[in-house]
Amino acid sequence: AQTVTQSQPEMSVQEAETVTLSCTYDTSESDYYLFWYKQPPSRQMILVIRQEAYKQQNATENRFSVNFQKAAKSFSLKISDSQLGDAAMYFCAYRRFIQGAQKLVFGQGTRLTINP
């Protein structure tokens, strides 16, 4: 079964600095998707970035980028120039297909604090 592990329950960073959140996963599949979701205090889960496993190039969305190491099954999120609005719970997720539906398997989450 696929599992996703986030080993950092909490992280903090100074405003304008760079922070990296870690994620590892376990799977026997060769083609899959990985995601980072953000959950601010408003509780709305927001998709931050996605990575397709067959693509070697790391995904980038503005200040957010990933370091995808397929052989090591590692998928870390880098946030550059951290802003106060980045404070949230961040979840790493793996997508698999079953019965025609795409299911997400989530990590435990990392709470990110931004210090002004």
Binding site: Q6, S42, L47, F91, A101, Q102, L104, F106
Partner: protein
Amino acid sequence: DVKVTQSSRYLVKRTGEKVFLECVQDMDHENMFWYRQDPGLGLRLIYFSYDVKMKEKGDIPEGYSVSREKKERFSLILESASTNQTSMYLCASTKVGGPQHFGDGTRLSIL
């Protein structure tokens, strides 16, 4: 924009009650999901549905059931609520191949 609406933001119920959590999406998505979120455990899938009247168990279905009579609506039912079902419940929907869109969550307390 995709809108996934959960009927209640906060809900307080008593042990043994039958509880209904409702979720509606407005984008004609085929797939809908119910998760529960607990500190240190992330989100865990309770049930999902890939079409009207079709449902499949997720990773933690015990104590729950679901109903999907119409494409836009997916209901989670706690047949006899217990205190260990106190949690945050999140609904999501997706078109096949697309990203999941989440509702704002229902914080359910069972007293």
